[in-house]
Symmetry: C2
Subunit: 218 residues, 2 copies
DNA sequence: TATTATTTTTAGGAAAGACTAAAAATAATA
DNA sequence: TATTATTTTTAGTCTTTCCTAAAAATAATA
C-alpha cells in the first residue's frame, strides 16, 4: 500500500500536528525524521500528489483525512506491538521503541485484528499513550494524579511526581511501573485512601501515594 | 546488518542448495525470487564481494559459511514467527507464509531470543519444517510414517498417505492437522497400536491410523 | 524600509535494486 | 565439429529516497 518511508513521514507529521497546532514546517519534519529539509520537500510533494496531505510552498503541510487515517493506523500498529513486547515477551517498556518502529510496517490487516484480540484490545501502550482504534480514531486522554480518579475509573501509570528512593522502592514492591494499568475499586472520602487493582492483586493505598502517581486516563 | 533484498537472496540460495545439490544457477535464483537473471547477477556479485558466497562467472554460486549462517538465521526467524502466528494468533498454517516473509526481516537478536522462549523453543514450524538453532544449525530430519516411531519419540504431522473423507474427519475430531506435534507415549508390539499425546490429550490409535500419517522427526 | 538571517525550495547527483536489450559463454544437437 | 539454443553477463536506464550546493522566499532586525 504505502512504502516504509511514506508511512514514517505520515506518522511523524501526525505527531507534530498533535504537539504544535496548525501547519507543520519542513524543518520540523526534517528534525523529527533525522533527514535534510530538501529530502522532506521531495517527499512532501509526493504525498501531496497522493492526496495524503495539503502542501503550499513555504507554508508547511497539513494531513488530509485520508493521511490522518493512514498515520493513525501506523501508530496503532506501533503501540499494539509495544504492548506485545512488554506483556508477552517481558521486555522493559524503554526497550521496545526501536523494535516497534520496524514492526509497525508489517502489512496485514488480519494480523493486527488478531494481535489486538490476543492482547485483550488494550487502550494504552506501555508508555501510557492511547492506542487508536481500527478506524484510526484516537481517544483523547488526560494526565491526572491517581488521587483524582473516582471509583471504577482506570488509568495507566505514566510517571511520578516526587521520586524519592523510598517511593520508587514501594512502587517496585507493588509491581507498579510505567505502563501498569491501575483500576480504582474503591475510594474513601474521609482520607482519600483507595483500594486499587494492579494485575491480579488488589490492595490499599494511602492518599499520599495516590497523590504522587501520574496516570493517563480516557 | 543486511538489507532486506540481501537477506532474501541468501535465504533463497540456501533453500536451492538444499534441494538440488552443488552450485546454484542464476536462472534458478531468478525464478525463485521472481526477478530477472540480470538482477540476480548484480546482487550475486555484490554478495560475493561481501564474502557471503563464492561466485564464478557462468558457473553459479555457493554460500560461504558466513552466508549460510545469515541465511539460516533468516529462516529461523521466519519459522519462529510462523509458530507464533499459528499457536498464539490462531492463524491457519497455510495463511502465515506471507506475513512471516515480512517478519523475518525484523532486526533484533533479543527479540528472537525472547520469542523463542515465549513459544517454548519449538523444533518445527507449522508446516513440519525444522527450525535452525541460534547458531544457524539445521538439524536434519526425516519424514516417516507415525507407525515407524518408537516410544518417547516425537514427530510433527506433515501429511497423510491416503486421504479418505472418513480418515480426515477422524483427524479433525482428534485435532490433528499439519504442524501438530505428536508424541508416542506407548507402543504395543502385538498389533502396532499406540498411545499418543496431542496437545493436552492422550489417546489410543490403531496401527491402521499410524500407518496413514506422515510425520517429520529429528 | 533596507539589510541580514532563516527557512524552504530547486537543481543536480548518488546508491540500491530493479528492468530491457544486446553481447558473450556455455550447452545441446545435427 | 559446426550450428543452434540456452544461459548468463554487460551496458545502459529507471525509480525511490536520500544527499549537497545554490537560489528563492519569508522572517527578523537595525
Amino acid at each position: 500500500m504505502f512504502t516504509l518511508a511514506e508511512e514514517d513521514y505520515l506518522k511523524t507529521i501526525f505527531h507534530l500536528e498533535h504537539d504544535g497546532k496548525g501547519e507543520v514546517s519542513t524543518n520540523a519534519i526534517a528534525e523529527s525524521i533525522a533527514t535534510k529539509p530538501s529530502s522532506v520537500t521531495d517527499m512532501v510533494q509526493k504525498l501531496a500528489e497522493k492526496k495524503l496531505l495539503t502542501y503550499k510552498r513555504y507554508k508547511g503541510v497539513q494531513l488530509t483525512t485520508e493521511g490522518k487515517k493512514v498515520a493513525a493506523n501506523v501508530i496503532r500498529k506501533h503501540r499494539l506491538w509495544e504492548v506485545f513486547l512488554v506483556e508477552k515477551l517481558n521486555f522493559h517498556w524503554d526497550q521496545v521503541h526501536e523494535i516497534a518502529e520496524q514492526l509497525e510496517h508489517i502489512q496485514s490487516e488480519e494480523l493486527i485484528v488478531r494481535l489486538d484480540k490476543f492482547l485483550g484490545s488494550p487502550d494504552f501502550d506501555p508508555h501510557g499513550d492511547p492506542i487508536p482504534d481500527q478506524h484510526g480514531v484516537l481517544k483523547r486522554t488526560e494526565k491526572k494524579l491517581l488521587a483524582e480518579l473516582e471509583k471504577n475509573q482506570q488509568g495507566v501509570c505514566v510517571g511520578v511526581k516526587e521520586s524519592s528512593t523510598e517511593f520508587l522502592q514501594y512502587l517496585d514492591k507493588k509491581k507498579i511501573s510505567i505502563g501498569t494499568k491501575i483500576t480504582v475499586l474503591g475510594k474513601e472520602f474521609f482520607d482519600g485512601s483507595m483500594i486499587i487493582q494492579v494485575g491480579n492483586e488488589q490492595f490499599f493505598i494511602s492518599h499520599k501515594i495516590a497523590e504522587n502517581l501520574f496516570v493517563q486516563t480516557l
